[in-house]
Amino acid sequence: MSPPVLSVRNLRVEFPTRRGTLVAVDDVSFDIGPGEVLGVVGESGAGKSMTGTAVIGLLEPPGRIASGEVWLQGERIDRLPPEKMRRVRGRRIGMVFQDPLTSLNPLYQIGEQLIETIRTHTDASPAVARKRAIGLLEAAGIQGAARRIDSYPHEFSGGMRQRVVIALALAAEPDLIIADEPTTALDVSIQAQIIDLLKTLCRDRGAAIMLITHDMGVIAETADRVAVMYAGRIAEIGPVRDVVQRPQHPYTKGLMGSIPTLEMGGTRLTQIPGSMPRLTAIPTGCAFNPRCNAAFDRCRVERPDPMQTGTGAVACWLAARAADEADPANQMHPTRMAP
């Protein structure tokens, strides 16, 4: 297997506040291979955006990476000086945000914004950059790109704007795109198109995707692997087939119950009773235990770390016990020692 594009190791993101330190991302590890699509799901507040933002180095102070490592193509990037990190952004990691209506600067033509991005990262002359920009817009499915390039953002519909945003994120040909709920703000009828576009464009350019979403349906159709997050940690991670069809973590099982059918469109993940704890009140033991119908004593005192299964990892005592019973001689090991 080729070395991963992105490798996140034991990432921990903290927010120092007056009432103590909040841990928004806790001990998160995952890899994304070249051209791979990693889906990241979980309820609101699970830490999905924080993880993506930390990877691209855009955490807003006082938020900070407290520990852990982020490796991009074998180079550690979480400690880079700001100017070097700036050159990584856009050039090697691109990011797409949720709301296309607010992602573009209203005062500049989209062409100006594209050309600016291209010329920030390459030596292209204005004329060459403009040609490339038109090519990108065409690839992003903007009709009459040569003409539309001089339009302002408000002259496009929401879906069209997200196409422009994707073109912008890909302008300097990064190897990884972090897409944070790229379709949540869009009309249901065009969500699939935008996801398709993102996937096609990235595949053509060999770029990997970290696709953050609420929508298990999108994950099932788009992702190669999926990471399920809960209360700042990864509950389960593995190939999308396994996680969707044979989920091991009780939380994942609950989520799978909420895959929207085509008729329903994109419903949110609401099937599991209760709600995710706030960062100020994360339960001891397994953070999911108050909502888990399979919880037992150990769950309330000891926190499960992700443990290797055949193809992925699960952070659940139940799964650990099942594995032990299946093969007591060959106990599952935590992927790493708890600190």
Partner: protein, 325 residues
């Protein structure tokens, strides 16, 4: 765009006519113009003759119409005090006020915007805190006090700068300018700072708060995610988005600068229109007073109009709005 401009011009005309009505009422009913023109011992017949000559016997709408017509031609009659056409008196005073206001406005804008940007970006640096403290002083001290303080420090104590008048001016025919001599500039420094300080602090604080807001916007985050340089983000993307409110305020403040010029001109005995107005109030020189009122209103309206056009220039979204309505 054309419809938008026409509508704005129409609105401006209404404002001007309203102000003209006020000026007219002032002119016609505050004090008797005839009394001002004849001696104490003039006979009734003499008075009536003048009354007739001035057209004061005509019906009111006719008088107002005539007043408007003349005002539109910048004809406000004769000054009671100096017995010269009001227009000529103003023309001789206008350059002084204009040069003072222009210098103050440039001072406030060219220093205020960078200070606002700096304090917006480096929120917590000690330089920002110094700037903000200074700006608090600028905003809370009344203009005349600032003027007096500056005079006390720089003229009385240090003796660096002159404290009154315009100094040496160069006569360019219709315009006497202080911009062309060292002495003229030296005289301009203290009044311009006095006049501009309030606007400077206002602009600094406004740009700062706008920057803080804009820097939180999604498109700034996206610009960062695209790896644009700090300079491109702060000045290209953020500052431009703060400009609309900043232009508004600067526009309004140019009006305020002319109004505040009155106090500054008084403190520094600056021979501009404000000083002229204060003198005219002392002497009940009604034509000068009503002309001043008219002129200040005209400047306000003209500035607002220009500001509206600038919006359209900065923000493409308004262009669309303008054409569709």
């Amino acid at each position: 765009m054309l419809a938008y401009s026409i509508r704005r011009i129409f609105e401006a005309l209404i404002v001007m006519i309203t102000v003209a009505a006020l000026a007219f009422v002032l002119f016609r009913f505050v004090g008797d113009p005839v009394n001002q023109l004849v001696g104490q011992d003039a006979t009734l017949a003499e008075r009536n003759l003048i009354r007739q000559q001035l057209g004061l016997d005509d019906p009111m709408p006719v008088q107002f119409g005539r007043f408007l017509w003349k005002a539109a031609h910048f004809d406000f009659g004769m000054s009671y005090q100096v017995k010269q056409p009001v227009t000529a008196v103003f023309a001789s005073r206008f350059p002084a006020t204009f040069e003072l206001a222009l210098t103050a406005a440039l001072f406030a804008t060219l220093i205020g915007i960078p200070m606002g940007v700096y304090t917006g970006i480096h929120r917590d640096s000690w330089v920002s805190k110094v700037f903000l403290t200074i700006s608090l002083i600028g905003i809370s001290l009344p203009t005349f006090l600032i003027g007096i303080l500056l005079i006390w420090v720089f003229s009385t104590l240090l003796g660096w700068l002159p404290s009154f008048g315009r100094g040496e001016v160069v006569d360019l025919g219709i315009w006497k300018t202080g911009f062309l001599t060292r002495d003229g500039w030296a005289h301009l420094v203290l009044p311009a700072i006095t006049l501009g300080l309030f606007q400077l602090t206002l602009i600094t604080r406004l740009v700062r708060s706008q920057m803080l807001e804009v820097l939180r916007a999604d498109y700034i985050k996206f610009a960062r995610a695209r790896g644009l340089s700090d300079r491109a983000i702060n000045f290209g993307h953020a500052l431009k988005n703060t400009l609309i409110p900043v232009i508004t305020v600067i526009g309004l403040q140019v009006g305020a600068i002319i109004a505040f010029a009155l106090i500054t001109e008084f403190v520094f005995q600056w021979p501009g229109m404000g000083l002229l107005f204060l003198q005219s109030v002392q002497n009940a020189d009604i034509p000068v007073m009503s002309a001043y009122l008219f002129l200040v209103a005209f400047l306000f309206v003209a500035i607002n109009f220009i500001v509206d056009l600038l919006y359209v220039w900065v923000d493409p979204r308004i262009r669309i709005l303008g054409t569709s309505t």
